[in-house]
Symmetry: C2
Subunit: 338 residues, 2 copies
């Protein structure tokens, strides 16, 4: 009974604090939310909540502020992801439908997320590891120089130039192209790499084949590609308030360190579930006052990559969660169609 009201109080505190950015007191609380009890009662509840570690006082004669634990309870039990409005859904659709290629999809998603949440948005490019090979193209630039283009199901294109030891004719090139494509098209890249190695053996270590295969395998296992990430809405950092050095600077640094960002987004294995990391819960001491709302996305059932928003712990969780989920779904659908 009182337990229920206490949770209502906690929810009210979180909601108020998120909008006002100021510690919230018992009086303001009963006024703004129709709690139906007196400030004194709320005070008792607040004391209890504080004992349990959900809220805290910046100093004795101030209102209360949610702790990380309080936010956690809030997102876990006190909030249901509110669906986007029809207008917002339409905006998402129009913006994303205009995308011409993978790069564009990612860029637009980042902007969109940043706009919707007024937060910093982060979108990981679909990783190679899950994708399949759509086509390999070999283009002779000069007789001893080859442009190798690897096209993946996610729409990514990797290209490398190979210097050959011997000259190679157009006919040989066509043969090689056919053989290679027969071996790898439709395979996920891990298997494709194995198949390619088999080719070299089958070709009696033909040096041209070997060179091309080498560069393809290298392109497939290129970890740099796994780390590609788009960031947008950094200007929203202004909304962090004044804690520039303690909060904004570390975050700015993190935004440039893609490895760090990836860790923040969460390991790509977690699937399409919406995850929320609040303040200290993450691995980075310096980012104790930031939260991350992220989810996986990608065509089919497999989550290929992750996207999300990063903001102050004092952020609009329901809104962010709704936006992240909506964008992820829509992007997934688009990638599905492509």
């Amino acid at each position: 009974m009182q337990e229920e009201r206490r949770l209502a109080v906690l929810r009210a505190i979180v909601e108020d604090y998120v909008t006002t950015e100021e510690p919230v007191g018992s009086k303001a609380l009963v006024e703004r939310h129709g709690l139906g009890v007196s400030p004194a009662t709320v005070r008792n509840d607040m004391a209890a909540l504080e004992d349990e570690g959900y809220i805290t006082q910046p100093h004795t004669s101030a209102g209360r502020v949610p702790t990380d634990k309080g936010y956690r309870l809030f997102v876990d039990r006190l909030t249901t992801v509110k669906p986007m409005s029809a207008a917002e859904k339409r905006a998402i659709a129009t913006i994303l439908d205009g995308a011409v290629d993978l790069d564009d999809v990612v860029q637009r998603s980042v902007r969109l997320l940043a706009q919707l949440t007024r937060q910093v948005a982060v979108v990981q490019y679909p990783t190679l590891s899950r994708s399949t090979v759509r086509h390999v193209e070999l283009i002779g630039l000069t007789p001893t120089r080859l442009l190798v283009v690897l096209i993946l199901s996610t729409g990514r294109v990797e290209q490398r130039v190979v210097e050959l030891a011997a000259e190679v004719g157009e006919a040989d090139l066509a043969d090689l192209r056919t053989v290679v494509n027969r071996a790898v098209v439709g395979e996920i890249i891990a298997d494709a790499a194995a198949a390619l190695r088999g080719l070299v053996v089958a070709s009696d270590d033909n040096p041209t084949t070997a060179a091309v295969v080498d560069v393809l395998v290298e392109a497939m296992s290129d970890h740099r590609s796994d780390e590609r990430i788009a960031v947008g809405g950094a200007a929203n950092l202004a909304r962090f308030g004044d804690h520039f050095d303690s909060a904004v600077r570390p975050l700015l640094e993190a935004l440039e360190e893609h490895v760090v960002l990836l860790k923040l987004l969460g390991e790509a294995t977690t699937g399409e579930v919406l995850t929320v990391r609040i303040g200290h819960e993450g691995p980075y001491q310096e980012l104790a006052s930031t939260s991350v709302v992220a989810t996986g996305y990608g065509p089919g059932d497999e989550a290929f990559a992750r996207l999300g928003v990063v903001g102050p712990t004092r952020m609009d969780y329901p809104g962010s969660m709704a936006a992240v989920r909506a964008v992820a779904r829509y992007v997934s659908r688009i990638l599905d169609e492509a």
Copy 2:
């Protein structure tokens, strides 16, 4: 005679202010720089400089701060670009030589510039307009679906999917591929687009040809590509000092608006000359306290794109100019080789 000393005083003021970030007074000036005159003399000079608008006082009993006009004189007449140290040159070489493709070159350049100058670095991807076509590849995904890949001399790859009205066989595809490549390889894209349109006429408006040509022309004239830009070192904005709202926020916003950024870097037509835009000299009111040091770069004599750094007007101009020039030169050389 005194004129000369006045300039020396101005230079000293700029140098001191850049390092200390605090208004500099007459006494500190004669102490730190061996000016060989008394503070009183310097004060007279300062008064004169202030009359001419090169420096200003934040308030009556404070030291002097350079104005934009003062910085302008400083970069125009009081500074020679100091060459990079051997160690720095080596660092540039090692970092940039490791790049595997165009994307990588740009990414690395941005990081490098940001590190060298401890400023926000901006690198524009080489624009399409000046580049030539290296190859066009047509790949049948399904009988009525074609992947068109456009490969440019700058190393950029554009790809589009075309839906065809009619099925097309592998033989037809090979023909088309040959025809198209014969028409466009080696041409700069403006001419290539014209040549392509001629093809459609010559083919009696064959719908497949028309569809492929359409998408190629579209890819060539895609302005989105002209606006691609990489940004790095945003964390260095912390060095801006405390003027968060007035200086950092507008800049953060500008960094996301690539159109704005391009304008800041300067029109791409200015060639390889090093340009410095100081404070209010630019078109943006909000960026009155930021300066831009930029130059063109690219293979051959033509400047294909621009790169530079953005920082507070109170920045190390000689250092930034040297770094920007050095990186631009090295990147140009790399692109030349490729």
